[in-house]
């Protein structure tokens, strides 16, 4: 018994503390909870505690929300206009201002020449019953002109599809025909299919009987039905044998891929001319390629079924889709099928993978030709660890020239003639807005034969938009006559935008001097 008492003397406090510990472990919320209770009691909430570095993926920061909470609507609108309405960190601000100050927000957007599409779309999704009558009505500043040519206008009916399909259908059908953009139906049905798929077929029928729709939009509607209710869509297709090709059937195939791949493939195989079924082939192959083990089946299917003239394009897309979905499978797939490396879009495999060590390790495991191809792809994408293995790129030369001109000059001159020629050719023929045009032109001009490259004229135009005199002097100094004429034209045409008189006077003077 004594022994038990001694054991108990140890165990009881242990159990006591484990009771506490367990409570603590199960509730990271202890501190805030008790803090809030204390504060609730005292009526005075403590200052926020210093927190760890915030999670960079969380959509908000407390500091920003605190600051924005005290700002006046004008300042919030200004902040939205300044930051743009597309940033993920400000999307909610659009919705907030639409809820609190829609009139002011629309007015400011319109008066500052900003496209208000993002407001309209956001509002239709967040508060459809308020937004839709206003944006489709004549009341300013909400009235939104719908361009019939715009395939994706900002007024959308998804939200009425989610919340009140009957009202959504009624609203669309009551619109004057001229105002009834086909996308109202597509977004509406997509909303229904998202939340109450079982109702999709009934609303599809109502839409279909409301009158003809442009083929692409109808295809999309049929695709939505096919995605959630393939049986119904297939029955519909059977009763419309005239639709053996075109956008409607392609839309249907796109939807079926998501619900009944076998049926999608069956319909595709019956299409009369595969050249006119580009979208359908793309839908099927992309959907196959999204699966982890799906690349081979996508490529095999394309080989057997796609129009020959579109095969390369579809295969490239399938490779890209698969690689970016399953980057960690790329290395293994390359080993299993080295032929992939010969595809014109093989670069995307290594870009998507980004797992350099694993990929580099495959170089020696592959047959020699495929190994060197992989090495080349890794090198040209700057993914080999040892910089000496990577050929120097035109951009790297420009950076070095800017950073340390003397060293770079020495290094440049030390490069083999052929490599220098390659680099100059790239600089002379490519267009890249991040390159310093003056430095680019300086390097290219060391090889007069490259002065006719299309990139030379682009660089000259860019230089003329920043420093027209420098561009003019450079163009005048080109020895080759036809290259010089093209250069003078490039400088003149860009300079004209900022100063017509100076550009004309310079050109006249230059031509007179010659």
């Amino acid at each position: 018994m004594k022994r038990e008492i001694i054991i108990a003397a140890f165990l009881v406090p242990l159990a006591f503390f484990s009771g506490r510990a367990m409570r603590t472990a199960s509730g990271a919320q202890i501190e805030p909870s008790t803090a809030s209770q204390r504060a609730a009691k005292s009526g005075d909430r403590p200052a926020p505690q210093k927190k760890q570095r915030p999670d960079s993926s969380v959509p908000h920061r407390w500091g920003n929300l605190r600051r924005q909470a005290t700002m006046k609507p004008e300042a919030l609108i200004e902040e939205l206009l300044v930051s743009g309405s597309y940033g993920y960190d400000t999307n909610w601000l659009t919705e907030h201002l639409l809820a609190t100050h829609p009139d002011q927000l629309f007015r400011e957007f319109k008066s500052s020449g900003q496209d208000s599409s993002s407001l309209v779309r956001c509002w239709c999704l967040a508060d459809p019953t308020r937004a839709i009558p206003l944006v489709l009505g004549k009341t300013e500043p909400f009235s939104t002109k719908l361009d019939p040519e715009n395939y994706r206008p900002p007024v959308v009916f998804d939200a009425l599809g989610w919340t009140d399909p009957a009202l959504g259908m009624k609203t669309i059908l009551e619109l004057p025909e001229k105002q009834r953009h086909p996308v109202f139906f597509t977004s509406f049905l997509s909303g229904i299919a998202a939340t109450t798929p079982s109702q999709t077929a009934a609303y599809f029928q109502q839409i279909e009987s409301s009158g003809p729709l442009p083929a692409h939009h109808f295809g999309e509607i049929l695709g939505t039905l096919a995605a959630v209710d393939p049986q119904h869509a297939l029955a519909w297709e059977k009763s419309h044998p005239e639709l053996r090709s075109g956008a409607a059937i392609e839309g249907m195939i796109d939807g079926l891929c998501k619900s009944d791949m076998e049926a999608a493939m069956g319909i595709y195989s019956e299409l009369p001319d595969k050249r006119y079924a580009r979208n359908a082939a793309s839908s099927i192959s992309r959907m196959l390629a999204t699966k982890q083990e799906g690349l081979s089946s996508a490529l095999d299917w394309l080989e057997a079924n796609a129009a020959k003239s579109q095969l390369a394009e579809h295969k490239g897309n399938a490779i890209s889709v698969w690689a970016f979905r399953h980057p960690d499978k790329v290395a293994g797939q390359i080993l299993a099928d080295p032929e992939l490396l010969s595809d014109p879009r093989a670069s995307e495999l290594v870009l998507a993978a980004g797992r350099k060590e694993e990929l580099i390790a495959q170089i020696d495991k592959l047959p020699p030709e495929a190994g060197s191809k992989l090495k080349e792809l890794l090198g040209s994408n700057g993914m080999l660890p040892d910089a000496t293995d990577n050929p120097i790129t035109p951009d790297e030369i420009l950076v070095q020239m800017r950073k340390s001109p003397e060293n770079a000059q020495a290094e440049w001159e030390g490069l083999p003639e052929e490599e220098r020629g390659n680099l100059i050719s790239k600089l002379a023929n490519q267009f890249n807005t991040s390159r310093d045009p003056a430095l680019t032109l300086k390097l290219v001009s060391s090889s007069p034969s490259h002065m006719k490259g299309s990139g030379v004229q682009t660089s000259l135009g860019r230089l003329a938009s920043m420093d027209p005199s420098a561009a003019a002097a450079f163009a005048e100094g080109i020895e080759d006559r036809s290259a010089r004429e093209a250069a003078l034209k490039a400088v003149h045409s860009r300079w004209m935008l900022d100063d017509e008189d100076a550009a004309d006077a310079w050109l006249a003077e230059t031509q007179k001097a010659r």
Binding site: F16, S33, V58, R66, A126, A227, L463, D498
Partner: protein, 661 residues
Amino acid sequence: MNRWRSHLILTACGTGAFLLGKADWNSGESGDSDSQKASAATESANRFPTDPGSAVTWLEQASREDCEALIAKQGLAGLSPLLREALLLRLSELDPQRLADLIFAMPGNGRGMASWQSWIGWLAKKHPEILEQHVASLSVVQQEAIDAAVRLLRYEFRGDPVAVFEENLKKGKGAQAAGALTQIAKTDPDLAISLLSKLMAEGLLIPTLDASFYRKLANINPAAMEALLPLARTPELKTQIAMALARVLARDDPSLALPLFDSLPPSNARSQVAIEIATAWTKRDPEAALAWVQEHLPNGAAKRKALAITLAPIAESDPGKVIPLLAGIREGETSRMMSDQNATIPQQVLETAVAALMKESPADAVAMLYSGAPPSTNGSGFQPLLTKSVGTWFASDPEGAIHWLAGLDQKERSGMMSYSVFTEQVTNIPPELAAKGAGLLGQIEDPQSAGQMATILATTMGKSDLAAAIKTAGEIPEAMRSSWIWQAIQSHARVDPLAAAAQIDHLPESSRASAHTAVASELAKVSPTQAFAYLDGLEPANRTAQGFDDAVSQASRANWNETYAWWNKLPEDDLVARSGALSSIAGKLYAADPTTAGNLREQIGAIADGETRARALTNLIQGMARLDPQAARKLAAEPGMELPKWAPAMIKRDLESAIPE
């Protein structure tokens, strides 16, 4: 005491102590039970501050129970988007599962919230298991939307942006470092400015980033951003920084941006700064803005853009001032200016002004447009707005417009009248006005332009009043008369083919067959049988293969069954009808019954006219190629009939394009 007994004692003591430990925690720290805690939270939620600033602070420190009490009281939908986001942010710290449950319980599984994509992306990154659990029960359409959101955010940014920036700076990779900067700017713009200066000082290549990135930085610290301008080595970067600065500086007082304008050399960056200044200034004082633009900007597209911004408010009220200043706009010039962020489109301002003046004085509007940018006579100088305006003028005052057109150079006039923007306007005027115009045709001296004008006017009149058009024919110069009547009849045939046919006798005999063809074609669009009966009723001279070719072509599109039945009943010896029909539907006849291939080939070989024969054979081969490429190739290689020289090459081309892959 046996072993079991001692175990029981220990277990009892341990359990008691464990429970005591819990009880001590509850009473020692808070002194409340769970229900008391909940009621404290409810009490706390009842005191949820009404002003947004305090409400955000309240939420920042809220407990799980506080959050629940608030949700029970107001619901997520009852909160403003600001407070909803604060609540979600707090739940992301306390209970991600609850956050996901709340979002997915909202309409459209939360897709109505503007922040939906961001929260879905966060769940995918931090709590994929919670997201998967919700996604599994959703419709495929919704799953797809979630998948798209997750993929978009996954590729937007991976990893810690500051670490990514530093790593890429070290490696000299400007594009990747700049990508990290845009991420940093979202939450710490000051840090982003200092890192941007580092990136620029290192000479790294910076890609074109979203304009809002630079505006955000300029908004936080304009002086620091201005100090970066000299470091920019590309026009794109210089322009983006300068524009962002100008917008921020000019926002409160446009004159604050003038020193920036003055400090820049003539360049796109300076032009864009001027456009920003003009935009801000116009909102306060358009006249002062206009005066500043006119005085300080050299002529060019940039100046016209700035002028358009200052003139937009008076485009309708004072078009006479606007048109001369903007008439020189060159097509597409605005789109060539880099980093164009301002939505005012000079061409639209000009169009608004022209439309306003056209109502008052079309002659002035046209004269202003012409003197601002006369159409060049080498064919490259089509001025759509001028041409359209002359057409509009014609519709209200044909006399004035014809008089003005008569004064132009022949090439200018002829070019203008050949564009659809002109003809569309004129063909929609009332017949009385067209008749008035016809009476003035003599004013146009050169026969080509006069003929063009006569064609347009005859089409206009013929469409609505054929009798008047035929009467008017007597009043126009004789040389144009027969062509005028033919145009009028053809135009009327589109509206009422048989009424048009009744007037064909007004034409000289040589033109009648083609007029009958036009009538039959129009009839065939509605009733193939009626069209064929019409052709059959004509005198032999007017019953031509061409007539059947055109009519059958229309008929086969309108009603194939009717057309096919007609063909099957066609007498063997009606070679006129047969040859016309074969040249437009031989391929379809083959498709309807491939066993007739040999017979069709024989009939085609018997067509007397070589051109018609070649067209019919091509048509047959095309139809055959879709169903039996081998047979089509064989027929093309050995047609077994004489063909014009040009035919084999055309047959080969059409054959290859018709064969499906």
